[in-house]
Amino acid sequence: MSRRLSRRTVLRSASGLLIGLPFLQSLDAKAAPPNTKRFVAVYHPNGVHSSQWFPTSNGSEADFTLAPSHQSLARFRASGLWLGGLNLQVGVSGPGEQHQRGLGGLLTGAGLQEGEFVGNDGTRAGWANGISVDQELVKLLRGDSHVASLQIGVKTMERDVSGVMSYAGPAQPLLAQNDPALTFRSLFMPNMGGGGTDTPELARLRRKRASILDTVQEQIKSVTKRVEPRERLKLDSHLTLIRDLEKRVTALPPGTDACSPAEPATVNWNAEAAMPETTKLQMDLLALAFACDVTRVATISFSDAKNHLSLPFININSDVHNISHLSDADPNRMQLAQRDEWQARQVAYLLEKLSGSVMGEPTILSQSLVFWGSELSKGNTHAHDDMPFLLFGGGTGFRMGRYLRFNGLPHNNLLLSILQGFGGNHSSFGDAQFCTGPLSGLT
């Protein structure tokens, strides 16, 4: 019999020590059905310091040396796939500037609509013109999980195309949630209380919520009949969301205390200095949500493409966006590598959290795919060639532990491969002119 942690212990220790395996072992096995697949996309802004980022190949795909920025990922080398030579082709032209097009296209593989968002260089654009791969995956992976997907942010401030990576459809942005307390509420509240046993009080709560939300659904249906066709989509989607919500808030309590965690510690998530702590809380909640099968799809954005952050916690006291613009030869550009190294550690932390397993089950990481990328390859050229993309985990059956280089293929091919890897029967994804077929050699 495994040791059970109280709900308080789980989150308290999460904000202190790194607890991978022991914590997940404590969860009861009933949380997720076997072979549950999950997907996470992680974004950080403004490209990378390439020479400190890409591995050095020693002759074969599996024989490579990790670059300095990725040392913290060494222990996940066997579950990682380093990709080089992919182009974010859809970001090269069209409405908007390179940051906007890069972030808008990162997960959608689609260009931007015409619109009114003012980019870094004063040009204008609208939202991305397509669904993002994470939202497409919701259709494949969601199963019975209560929360369709999660968009979390760490100081993602821009409320326009420069700050959004997830799209429910063309021009249907899903903005990221920066406050861990709200992430917690989205995932674990309003729940039915912990304990795992039904009581008359819980039965009453279920009755209350069902009767209220049933009435709301009737109202939405009656209004839908009276609005013009183009607005019906909005109300149809609203109705679906209320049905989902009803299912969730009237479900029987989860089987374990660990899946009814207490509210996380409060954090001043608005402050640059609090980014490390915020990251940790957000990732802890995400890992717990995966373990408890609350959700199966998530995106995490670190700030936004238009940010002007400094990172005092790693001693970078000037604007990282400006640093990303410095030439390769400028010694101060090494601060960008320092930022990249910090980002790698955050990804390593997430991988660590996903490396636990319920007794006798494979690890979550082995059933998941973690995608990590940026909207540009390099900030000083604002280029979209040779993008810094990485994959981790066994969810799609890709052969990991390799460094693969592609000769300028569009990244839509990668998005398509991910969908197919999760069992999708897609033949193209995003803007079709930039999708020439799945990448070869992944499996």
Partner: protein, 538 residues
């Protein structure tokens, strides 16, 4: 040391071509009679601010602040009320649900008498509550079809639970209903081709969210129900009444909170090395001070002129660094020398936001004036320009350090328009403190507007106080303000189809000598406010 700044463009072969390319501007003045009907915004989800104001009006001014946790709205040209983009998301639906549960329980516990007042607490009393309270929550009378599901919910809960619980659960359902969460602008066929006119009830809501950022009160609902809003006189009478109400100040402030981006002001951070006086509390004080300044403009008879030239500064004990010695956390209105503080552009919070974390920023300030105040955005810089401001030096003024913009040909294309405006702000440092010297050298605050659409606006000025005087008297700046207000009222970006309305509104604002109430009345009476394109047929 190598400063790249604009220099990388040549490498990328974009050359100078990118710089002078104008970006989309206001609708070009063609014959406005050729315009089509104004675009429709049939469903407008309440914004967080509108939701909170509305529930306070409905349930009590002390209602818990639930909307602060709702998903943030995307911003379009600074505004948060874009009708197309604001949709209910999974997160939003969850927050509405939590908020409704919280508010309903709170209202029954604290303000039951406001919700129901019957001798007998029975089903009839419940039905009465649904009809009366529902009318305020839906901002119109409920049809009997709409009442039925609520009556059923009430009746079942009354049997299974008790009267108070029935009120609570019914209220929670009302507060999540689409008739509450969305404002409808459906309209009905009018005497104009392909054009619908909004109904009285729809206009009542549009009016109250525009003028009060909240729902209609009883008098406005009655005006809608009696048909009074269908006539221009009736509409104007209600609008004039509402503009005199204290709630109009709330909406006025809301516009400026978006136009000046208060959220960015209160989250502005500075480097301790450059500005040891900066604290997060100071950033909060900037916001509060600016909000009081804006409210004071509303109360002023001088309107647009007061916005740009008032020398009032609201200060509290956080703001000693700007001169006034206020010792309490409460803000006091201080009259400053108009050399130091003249108008909204000289307010510390805005100046601090339009600065870098370690220095002032002539660029951000210059662009703000051109883009936001004059609606004359500078041409975009080359796509691959590297925006690295020259680092602060102890032996030079900001102006001297930025000299490269005007010496480098590729930069000069754009910066000859931006920098001269921004240099006029150099008497204010990165915290918005007034200074006459920088690094031991006298500050040169001479500036210039290089080109302008308005005749006579271009020309030199000395310091921000003179620039503010210029702007206060500028028709181009007034017109720009009018177009922003029209967007805010419509919940969408204006198009060429709004040209007649826009030109009328601009003319009336100018004729009224910059009276904001006059501007709002002109918008309310415009076709773009009252009409919409007929729905697309299937």
């Amino acid at each position: 040391m190598t400063l790249l700044r604009c220099a990388t463009i040549a490498i990328l072969g974009l050359g100078l071509a990118a710089c002078p390319k104008p970006r989309p501007d206001d609708p070009q003045p063609t014959a406005c009679e050729e315009a089509g009907p104004p675009k429709a915004t049939p469903l407008r989800l309440l914004t967080r601010a509108e939701y909170q104001n509305t529930v306070r009006a409905l349930l009590g001014a002390d209602a818990p602040d639930v909307a602060k946790d709702f998903p943030k709205e995307p911003l379009v040209l600074g505004f948060d009320n874009n009708a197309d983009l604001n949709r209910v998301t999974a997160e939003g639906a969850t927050r509405y649900f939590e908020a409704a549960e919280t508010l309903a329980a709170w209202a029954v516990a604290k303000h039951k008498a406001q919700l129901v007042s019957c001798a007998a607490e029975d089903l009839n009393c419940g039905k009465d509550f649904i009809a009366k309270m529902g009318r305020h929550i839906f901002r119109r009378a409920l049809s009997s079809d709409e009442q039925t599901p609520f009556n059923t919910l009430f009746s079942q809960t009354l049997s299974a639970e008790n009267f108070d619980t029935a009120v609570e659960w019914t209220l929670a359902a009302l507060l999540q209903s689409p008739q509450f969460l969305y404002r409808f602008e459906t309209g009905a066929p009018s005497d104009k081709a392909r054009t619908y006119k909004l109904s009285g009830n729809e206009l009542a809501s549009k009016l109250s969210y525009f003028l009060w950022a909240s729902g209609p009160d009883e008098e406005l609902l009655q005006a809608a129900e009696s048909g009074a809003l269908d006539s221009p006189e009736g509409l104007r009478a209600q609008a004039e009444r509402m503009l005199k109400d204290a709630r109009a100040e709330v909406s006025f402030e809301r516009f400026f909170a978006l136009w000046l981006n208060f959220d960015l002001i209160s989250s502005t951070e500075k480097y301790a090395t450059a500005f040891p006086d900066y604290t997060p509390d100071l950033a909060q004080a900037w916001r509060s001070s600016l909000s009081l300044y804006i409210r004071n403009v509303w109360r002023s008879a001088r309107g647009f002129d007061a916005l740009f030239t008032s020398n009032t500064l609201y200060a509290n004990n956080q703001m000693g660094l700007y001169g006034p010695a206020v010792t309490t956390p409460e803000f006091q209105a201080m009259t400053m020398s108009s050399q130091e503080r003249s108008g909204v552009l000289s307010q510390p919070g805005l100046l601090a936001r339009l600065s870098a974390p370690d220095q002032s920023s002539p660029i951000r300030r210059g662009i703000f004036v051109l883009d936001h105040v004059l609606c004359q955005p500078p041409p975009p810089p080359p796509g691959n320009a590297a925006f690295v401001p020259p680092p602060p030096r102890a032996d030079a003024t900001t102006r001297e350090r930025f000299a490269q913009h005007s010496s480098d040909d590729s930069c000069a294309q754009c910066h000859r328009l931006i920098d001269p405006v921004g240099f006029g702000f150099e008497q204010y440092d990165g915290l918005g403190r007034f200074r006459s010297q920088e690094n031991g050298k006298d500050v040169d605050a001479s500036g210039a507007i290089v080109t302008a659409r308005e005749k006579g606006l271009a020309g030199p000025f000395m310091g921000l106080s003179e620039l503010s005087q210029k702007l206060a008297g500028s028709r181009q700046a007034q017109d720009c303000m009018s177009s922003n207000w029209l967007r805010f009222a419509m919940g969408r970006v204006d198009s060429a189809d709004d040209l007649c309305s826009l030109q009328n509104v601009q003319a009336k604002f100018a004729e009224s000598d910059g009276d904001f109430a006059g501007l709002m009345l002109a918008i309310i009476e415009s076709d773009s406010f009252l009409y919409r394109a007929a729905p697309e047929t299937l």
